[in-house]
């Protein structure tokens, strides 16, 4: 057991730290789901890409550095510690890209990843449907075979970033007779194509963070199928593992928030000892998540456990911060925004109830519940 960084890792971390110190905007950018914010965030991504920092773990030919996973982890920590902007391209970078690198063709990777890294294309997810939430396998949106490709019809919902995104990826039922996990195909489609309607949905905080997508005979060429037609569930589950796991939620977000929470507690005039316990507890958990990330470089952590842990940690961090702030909390824009965002964590990317079932079955080997 040895935590020392090798020289290459130290050099990389220092490079990232210096670059961020020199480049992170002083104030917050406009909201990512507004037109101004869209421009500002894409521009920020281009600067990251120009510095070779958009996706350091990717192969060099797609805009990465072929850096080892440790460097991705170090980048994540430095990025959040520096308070750098939210990644507008995160759905593509952290969810679609790993799927493409695992299941996509070389042509797809070469065509899609470089513009993704420069935020020339921003991606949305298109998984859930009105009647297929926790029970994703009951989805009904269809992909019908047509000349040279597929025609998509149906309705997707809770699609984050769909309001500003250029393209989307998701699962569609391509073999009408087949049920549940069978006969699904993983496809990418253009959100500006004819037949696509995007309806923004206002969230608790008033922002339009997600949307419904209505698809009416939307053409998708064969080149935009990932993996084999009909094999979509298996392909998608590898994305799901990324979504639940460390790719989407690196430890940096939580360690940075835990450090802010400790500072808040230390500097609150009448520090509340009742919250002391929870402040220390939240810090310990954020540290645990960080150490688990390092440990996962050698021994993978089950994605269901990761999802449960980070989502509950995020709620704990923000609930505790509000309690430390007391009656001043409601007027604190930063912590309240983080709080509202944290509340979504136990719901999206597979509810925590589903994660517990998955963990019980796959990790603990407990019998499946009769359904």
């Amino acid at each position: 057991m040895n935590l020392d960084l090798d020289d290459a890792a130290v050099r990389f971390r220092d490079e990232v730290r210096d670059w961020l110190a020199a480049n992170v905007p002083a104030g917050p950018l406009p909201g990512v789901d507004t037109a101004d914010g869209d421009r500002a965030h894409r521009s920020w991504e281009r600067r990251l890409a120009a510095a070779g920092l958009a996706a350091v773990g990717w192969p060099v030919e797609y805009g990465g550095r072929a850096a080892p996973p440790l460097h991705t982890l170090l980048f994540d920590e430095e990025y959040h510690a520096a308070g750098a902007p939210v990644r507008i391209g995160q759905n593509g970078l952290f969810l679609l890209a790993p799927t493409l690198l695992a299941h996509g063709t070389a042509e797809q990777c070469a065509r899609i990843l470089p513009p993704m890294a420069r935020a020339g294309q921003v991606w949305a997810q298109a998984w859930s449907e009105p009647d297929a939430g926790s029970d994703l396998a009951s989805l009904r949106s269809r992909a019908r075979r047509v000349d040279g490709g597929w025609s998509l019809s149906g309705q997707k919902t809770w699609s984050s970033r769909a309001v500003v995104a250029d393209r989307a990826f998701g699962l569609f039922r391509s073999t009408p007779g087949q049920n549940r996990h069978r006969g699904l195909t993983y496809l990418m489609f253009d959100l500006r194509a004819p037949g696509v309607t995007v309806r923004p949905i206002r969230q608790l905080d008033g922002a339009a963070g997600f949307a419904e997508i209505f698809l009416d005979d939307v053409f998708v060429p064969d080149a935009d199928v990932i993996g084999e037609p009909g094999d979509g569930w298996r392909v998608a589950m590898s994305t799901a593992a990324h979504e639940r796991g460390l790719s989407l939620r690196g430890p940096g977000r939580f360690t940075a928030a835990a450090d802010r929470l400790v500072q808040l507690w230390l500097t609150t005039p009448r520090s509340r000892p009742v919250e002391r316990d929870r402040v220390a507890g939240a810090w310990v958990r954020a540290r645990a998540y960080r150490m688990a990330a390092y440990a996962s470089l050698e021994r993978p952590v089950p994605p269901s456990a990761t999802k449960l842990f980070w989502s509950e940690l995020d709620v704990l961090l923000h609930e505790t911060a509000l309690d430390v702030l007391g009656p001043l909390a409601e007027a604190d824009p930063e912590w309240t925004a983080g709080y509202l965002f944290s509340l979504a964590g136990p719901i999206y990317a597979g509810t925590n109830e589903i994660q517990r079932d998955t963990l019980a079955q796959r990790v603990l080997g407990l019998p499946r519940e009769p359904r």
């Binding site: 939430g133 029970d135 206002r202 919250e275 009656p327 409601e330 007027a331 824009p333 719901i347 509810t351």
Partner: protein
């Protein structure tokens, strides 16, 4: 020995429920959140007609001169329907403060206007209430600081975690009264706030149960899954055992004592409401996270009211101070 509402109180609650169910609260709240208090003020007038706004106003100024037990019956319904506005302020604390200052004409006029529903009042009382809730639409803002009551003047509007609540920073102005202990008025505010929280908890549970019966996944209503039904059962237990504390606090305040019981009620009602809110969102899933669905009206209300009128931490410290007996004070931080 009675720890339950009387027949008259049950009838009062039912009438109020009918009034509020017919009032299109989602629309009222959305307009209120967008800075348009018109519909909310109309509802305020209707509540005055039902005798709510004048509950604690003495009869000679047009009020009901009612007790804390009537107050919680009304406030539980208001919380149940997530009525926006500075309710614990206008209905509970402010009338009590003004009654103590009613030797002067101003307070008397305000009391009459409160009872008639012409006036909606807010309150600043640091450190409990650092801002005036809905100070931009309130006709009167009081500032209670130590034993002085002043009139306050709203400055900027701050956004709140609760979209249907608009906070004002306030500059203290003219002296209204001094040498008055605001204690009892503040206890009544805590009590009203606790009742709102309990009513909100109940509404959140009801909506969640309805959703769990109707929403199907994996071929059955999600309420058939233990993962869902057990969370809802825990909420029901929390509500079941918070309610008697609320009633006991009202009884205690009626007989002129009761800080211990008031604090216990605030802690328990806040806990029940926070649990109900977390579970409601989890049971509803993404749809509960939208503005289109009505859940947001209770979620923000609960999180904010739990920290207002004395944080849970403050009330716990007061309980232990009370239990420690004469001469021992348990500070908010415990002993060192």
């Amino acid at each position: 020995m009675r720890l339950a509402p009387s027949t008259e109180q049950l009838a009062f609650a039912a009438a109020l429920h009918g009034l509020l169910a017919a009032a299109d609260l989602p629309k009222v709240s959305t307009a209120w959140a967008d800075g348009d208090p018109g519909a909310g003020r109309a509802l305020w007038s209707a509540l005055a007609g039902a005798g709510v706004t004048g509950l604690l106003v003495p009869e000679r100024w047009g009020g009901q001169d009612a007790g804390p037990d009537d107050l919680i019956v009304a406030c539980e319904e208001l919380g149940h329907h997530a009525v926006p506005g500075p309710l614990a302020e206008s209905i509970a604390a402010v009338p009590a403060l003004l009654t103590a200052a009613a030797t002067r004409p101003g307070p008397r006029e305000w009391l009459a206007a409160l009872a008639e529903g012409r006036l909606m009042a807010s309150l600043v009382a640091p450190p409990w209430l650092p801002f005036a809730a809905d100070g931009d639409s309130a006709d009167l803002i009081l500032v209670a600081d130590g034993d002085e009551i002043r009139q306050g003047h709203a400055r900027s509007v701050l956004p709140s975690l609760n979209p249907a609540r608009r906070l004002s920073e306030v500059t203290p102005g003219e002296l209204i009264a001094s040498g008055q202990d605001p204690g009892r008025a503040m206890e009544l505010g805590v009590l009203a706030c606790s009742a709102q929280l309990l009513g909100a908890a109940r509404a959140l549970l009801e909506r969640s149960v309805d959703h769990a019966k109707q929403r199907a996944q994996f071929g059955r209503p999600i309420g058939a899954f233990q993962a869902v039904r057990h969370q809802l059962a825990d909420v029901a237990v929390a509500i079941e055992f918070a309610q008697p504390l609320l009633y006991a606090a009202a009884v205690a305040l009626k007989s002129g004592c009761g800080p211990l019981d008031v604090s216990a009620a605030k802690v328990a009602c806040g806990e029940a409401a926070r649990l109900a809110a977390r579970v409601a969102l989890q049971v509803h899933g993404a749809v509960g996270y939208t503005r289109e669905h009505g859940l947001w009206r209770w979620l923000g209300l609960v999180r904010v009211l739990d920290l207002a009128w004395g944080t849970p931490s403050w009330h716990r410290a007061r309980i232990l101070t009370g239990l420690a007996g004469a001469g021992t004070s348990v500070p908010e931080g415990g002993f060192e």
